[in-house]
């Protein structure tokens, strides 16, 4: 089962416009050495049997700082420099190469990666490391291709027999990355101080307070001649609080702050207020009644809608899911047909660096296959227009649109960047909520739900399983027709994609951003989703699974007697 998770655990950020300093690819030593090694090896690679027809290197050169705090103490504190190389090698031909999925399913073999020594004066140690990794990757690619070739001779014809790869266009680009600077000691002190807010709260079973910064450059070079240097700038402060009900159900509240400067961080007063609010919500959740399975009107608040779009539609319009026969292909043949309410248009635009001053985690200039990012209209007024494409063509879509993404060590596939919902007609949030109450009455339902916060969920795209989704709200209100509301727990949203998006009745004008990390075949990638609040005529709610273990017998050490 392919479970595609979207979790708001990490946050990446990129800056809209950098102070431009002169940056020339020909001056970049990593690019020089990687290109030299490509040129040297390709001469031989092409003559092999099977031929190795494409090589690409991704090299991350990043400074990483992280601190984690709990209970007035540091649990983890790291400061390191990451210098990591990844090699992508393709053996065979554009039509059929080593990356093809075998008829038994699986593949997605990990890519060769390695920590790299410094380049130094002569670059010899670096080049030797590049060579070593390339040799291994080339051997792996040939072995994989031989399996693919054997497999193709005995397997059934694929429904979409598009080539396995299309050469990306040659690109030359260089942008320096000004390093991020934060007062780490001050942030550490702040985290230590606010971590004490959980003291005397017996319902808090655990908590964590973190800050992480990644800053540096990403280099890409391939055998087409593409040479790229792009910036990586990420910083996030976050906290999480969790507890357990007497019957064993977990509940949690968390918050993230994505920033690029010290000034953008919440000050102590703001952070304290937010944590206190989260503590109140957590206590309410732990004492809340459990939701019952039901199908009723639902109001998805903007951030929850952002996750909803990502999970329910976004993953199903990723290009490779239209190609592999193991996928459900919900939308494959629906280009030009209505797939959502006509109120909605959906665009994925990784070139968007921020939205209303909020940094977008899904921003990037070039994807992990060296293709320039560009906006892609997926749905226009409810009509499906296209797919997210990597360099693996599909029927009717022969080139990449800059969405080939993957974590280090994972082969890139089509993934989302910044997924944006745009409504053709909106109302104020207050009017939307009023409409929600009216709809509950109209349907003569005892209540409806407002989904305030969604941590993530998964969608099943494999044909072995129903083409359903399941989302996990973390804060849900049961709202009665007279407007009364109460927190409930244990309510998951379930449904099927084609039906769900046609249930959209009205849309508010309160667009907001959800920044998260998305996990799929090609690993974890930073993503953002922008959406307004929406009213859905009906969604199905089911119970959340819970553990059978009770909370600890004794109260926390500092919660006794409270």
């Amino acid at each position: 089962m392919k479970r595609l998770l979207l979790l708001c655990v990490l946050l990446v950020f990129a800056f809209p416009v950098f102070a431009q300093t002169i940056c020339r690819v020909q001056d970049q030593r990593p690019l020089q050495l990687m290109s030299k090694e490509i040129n040297r090896s390709m001469k031989t690679f092409k003559k092999q049997n099977p031929p190795i027809y494409y090589v690409a290197y991704n090299f991350d050169d990043l400074d990483v700082y992280g601190i984690d705090v709990e209970e007035k103490g540091v649990t983890n504190h790291t400061k390191r420099h990451d210098a990591m190389l990844q090699v992508q090698v393709r053996a065979g031909s554009l039509q059929m190469d080593n990356t093809r999925t075998l008829k038994t399913g699986n593949t997605y073999r990990s890519l060769e990666i390695a920590d790299m020594p410094a380049i130094g004066e002569d670059g010899k140690a670096f080049s030797a490391a590049v060579w070593r990794l390339t040799e291994q990757a080339a051997e792996d690619a040939q072995q994989d291709f031989n399996r693919v070739r054997a497999d193709s001779q005995t397997g059934a014809k694929r429904l979409d027999d598009s080539p396995d790869f299309v050469f990306p266009p040659k690109e030359i680009f260089c942008q320096e990355s000004p390093s991020l600077t934060f007062d780490m000691e001050q942030i550490k002190e702040l985290l230590l101080k606010v971590s004490n807010l959980t003291r005397g709260k017996p319902f808090v079973l655990g908590s964590s307070f973190s800050f992480e910064v990644q800053s540096g450059s990403r280099y890409f070079a391939d055998s087409i001649g593409t040479q790229l240097k792009t910036p990586v700038r990420l910083a996030r402060l976050s906290y999480s609080l969790w507890g357990k009900t007497a019957d064993g159900a977990w509940a949690d509240r968390s918050q993230n702050y994505d920033v690029l400067t010290q000034e953008q961080l919440p000050d102590e007063a703001k952070l304290t207020a937010d944590i206190k609010q989260s503590l109140q919500e957590l206590e309410a959740l732990l004492n809340a009644p459990e939701a019952d399975p039901v199908a009723v009107p639902v109001l998805l608040k903007n951030k929850a809608m952002a996750v909803f779009v990502h999970e329910v539609l976004g993953h199903r319009v990723e290009g490779h899911r239209q190609k592999e026969d193991s996928f459900g292909k919900t939308f494959t043949d629906k280009v030009g047909q209505e797939v959502t309410s006509p109120l909605l248009s959906i665009v994925d635009d990784a070139t968007l660096a921020e939205f209303n001053g909020q940094p977008l985690r899904g921003f990037y200039l070039y994807d992990d296959e060296g293709v320039k990012a560009r906006p892609v209209t997926l749905v226009e007024n409810g009509i499906l227009k296209g797919f997210l494409m990597s360099s693996s063509p599909i029927k009717g879509f022969s080139v990449s649109n800059g969405h080939g993404r993957g974590d280090m060590g994972k082969r890139p596939v089509a993934r989302m960047g910044n997924t944006r919902v745009i409504a053709s007609k909106t109302v104020s949030y207050e009017a939307l909520e009023q409409q929600f109450l009216e709809e509950i009455k109209r349907q003569q339902k005892p209540y409806g739900f407002i989904i305030e916060d969604l941590s993530g969920g998964f969608t099943m795209t494999d044909t072995s399983y129903p083409q359903t989704f399941k989302l996990t709200p973390t804060l849900v209100y049961r709202v009665y027709p007279d407007g009364r509301r109460e927190v409930v727990r244990g309510a998951d949203i379930v449904g099927t994609p084609l039906a769900a998006f046609h249930e959209v009745m009205a849309v508010a004008d309160d667009y907001d951003v959800f920044n998260g990390s998305c996990g799929a075949e090609s690993g974890w990638v930073p993503v953002s989703s922008i959406a307004p609040s929406v009213l859905l005529r009906r969604l199905e709610i089911e119970k959340t699974g819970k553990s059978n273990t009770k909370p600890p017998l004794l109260p926390p050490p500092f919660g006794e007697g409270k």
Partner: protein, 559 residues
């Protein structure tokens, strides 16, 4: 201390409590306070109260490690100390407690192991919080174990031995040493060293990689139990790793490494490192030109490093976990050592083997090589005693814990508590001492002489010994009986090794080497067990060549 004494009286253990004060630091304060709360209040209706409670904290302290390959540095990582903790609870009575039984579930979560947390917050509050959660989970686990063990016992007939009490705690001991700050090394200096040392590999063009890594480490351990035992010890060490990758002339990809430990980097450290590196590189040339071996059955000379591993595989592993765990899943505890009978003939005469948890380095040695098994108080609070394991070829004393088995009931302080296991019988610093010690040359002459007797053209000298029963020897040299000819071989695979080989030791050398054993993956790379052995001449070992085919030639030559 008043609080602690009260605690012990509460348990009816006043007589066992030590008069020494607990160290005055955050770790012991947090352990003491949470222990006190646990003893007073942790009791679930229908479940026996905790009988034996153990808290253990390990502060894994790391200075920056440095590494370079072929003259260029890898990025330096800096990490703060990492605090890990374990909690063990048994319930019931001394006669019938919850331990000694393996949980019925197949899930690794339910292995015979204590609760274990990584990355505990380094604050009083953080430690209390972690201990609280681990204590609760540990108590519930003990309750499950207790019920399952009782149910299991009802399905079996009681043997004489099972009439022994489950738990016989010893007089509780304590040991406290001052925790020193981690030695501060000049990182730039160390970087310069590894750059220079790894650059020595450039003189060997066949090397695809040659890296040198220096890792200063320190592990501080804080232990407290509810019977009055406690200890605080610190283990500093510096790990040096030399690593090379190359292809031999027959086309096989080879990795070769040498790892050694020092107590600290002394004034002459760089000079010694240079010598070690030069020696390591010198060993690579014959390895690169190594020839394929033929099947072999005959005498083998194990150099000290190989001898240490040999002793570990055949003797140490059979002298640990001696009291088999009960289990409804299997009547055989595969983790239990087989040498359980004092007086049993286990080795050739002329070799004495000790286990000495009280020493930090090999007695009489002037080398800067620490022993990993220093443990003055064991993990059941008993004073750890030096044991004579083997004398005149026969098994003498066995490591014992507070869980009696066989004829002797009392512990001799060899209970070791690990993230993967509740306390069981473990060895610490195993020291192999021959009655007659020969020089390297004499040993080699003995080897060749024995080969001639057996009509063999050559014998083998091994510089390392495989950790697994069918492992490959990294460095093996064939020594011919005529003409002083020597050949290094590759792909020599161990075959049919049994404990019989211990009785085939015919001679031993006069220079021991310390082998560090990694017994706990989570111990910050600092092993908790060492074997010190001289070279050993074994009358008969069997080897076969590897079945592996040569690797493909590189597509492109090294840049």
């Amino acid at each position: 201390m008043k609080k602690l004494s009260l605690l012990f009286c509460f348990l009816g253990m006043c007589g066992l409590a030590q008069s020494a004060a607990l160290p005055d630091n955050m770790y012991f304060k947090a352990m003491r306070d949470e222990m006190s709360r646990t003893v007073k209040k942790l009791h679930r209706q229908g479940v026996p109260a905790p009988l034996f409670i153990v808290y253990k904290l390990e502060n894994l302290r790391a200075a920056s490690s440095v590494e370079a390959s072929l003259g260029e540095l890898y990025p330096v990582s800096q990490r703060d100390d990492k605090l890990n903790g374990s909690v063990m609870i048994s319930i019931g009575t001394n006669k019938n407690d919850s331990l000694g039984y393996k949980h019925d579930s197949y899930s690794p979560r339910y292995a015979y192991a204590p609760e274990y947390y990584n990355n505990i917050a380094k604050s009083y509050d953080g430690i209390r919080q972690a201990l609280w959660k681990m204590t609760d989970e540990s108590y519930l686990f003990a309750a499950e174990l207790y019920q399952q063990k009782e149910a299991y016992k009802r399905t079996k007939q009681e043997e004489n031995e099972t009439k022994l009490p489950d738990f016989m705690p010893s007089k509780q001991a304590h040991y406290v040493e001052e925790i020193q700050p981690v030695e501060k090394y000049d990182i730039e200096q160390l970087q310069k060293w590894v750059k220079q040392l790894s650059a020595m590999g450039k003189a060997y063009p066949f090397l695809e990689q040659f890296s040198v890594r220096i890792e200063p480490r320190q592990r501080d351990t804080y232990y407290l139990n509810n019977l009055g035992g406690f200890y605080q010890v610190s283990q500093p060490a510096v790990r040096v790793r030399l690593f090379a990758k190359f292809r031999n002339t027959s086309g096989y990809k080879q990795d070769y490494e040498n790892e050694f430990w020092w107590s600290s980097l002394g004034k002459d450290a760089y000079e010694k490192l240079t010598q070690q590196t030069a020696q390591f590189l010198k060993e690579l040339e014959p390895l690169q030109q190594a020839v394929k071996p033929a099947p072999y059955l005959g005498p083998v000379l194990l150099r000290p490093q190989a001898a240490g591993q040999f002793i570990h595989n055949l003797l140490v592993e059979n002298l640990q976990n001696l009291n088999p765990l009960l289990s409804s899943r299997s009547e055989v505890d595969i983790t239990a050592g087989k040498m359980r009978t004092p007086g049993q003939r286990v080795m050739a005469p002329g070799i004495t083997v000790y286990d000495n948890p009280q020493v930090r380095s090999v007695p009489g040695s002037v080398e800067n090589i620490p022993l990993g098994g220093f443990m003055p108080v064991d993990d059941e609070g008993a004073a750890a005693q030096k044991l004579t394991l083997v004398e005149a070829g026969r098994l003498q004393q066995l490591p014992r814990t507070s869980r009696p088995f066989g004829a002797k009931l009392s512990s001799n302080g060899h209970a070791r508590f690990a993230p993967q296991s509740f306390p069981r019988e473990r060895l610490t610093n195993v020291l192999v001492e021959p009655q007659v010690a020969l020089s390297d040359r004499e040993l080699e002459e003995r080897l060749l002489s024995r080969c001639r007797e057996l009509g063999l053209d050559y014998g083998y000298i091994l510089y390392d010994f495989p950790a697994s029963d069918d492992g490959i020897v990294s460095r093996a040299v064939r020594v011919y009986t005529t003409g002083n000819k020597r050949e290094t071989v590759y792909g020599l695979r161990l075959a049919n090794l049994t404990t019989r080989a211990l009785r085939d030791i015919t001679a031993a050398g006069n220079q021991a080497k310390v082998l560090w054993r990694q017994t706990e993956p989570s111990s910050n790379g600092l092993p908790k067990q060492s074997v010190s052995s001289p070279a050993l001449l074994i009358d008969e070992l069997e080897f076969v060549p590897t079945d592996k085919k040569p690797d493909k030639k590189p597509f492109v030559s090294k840049p």
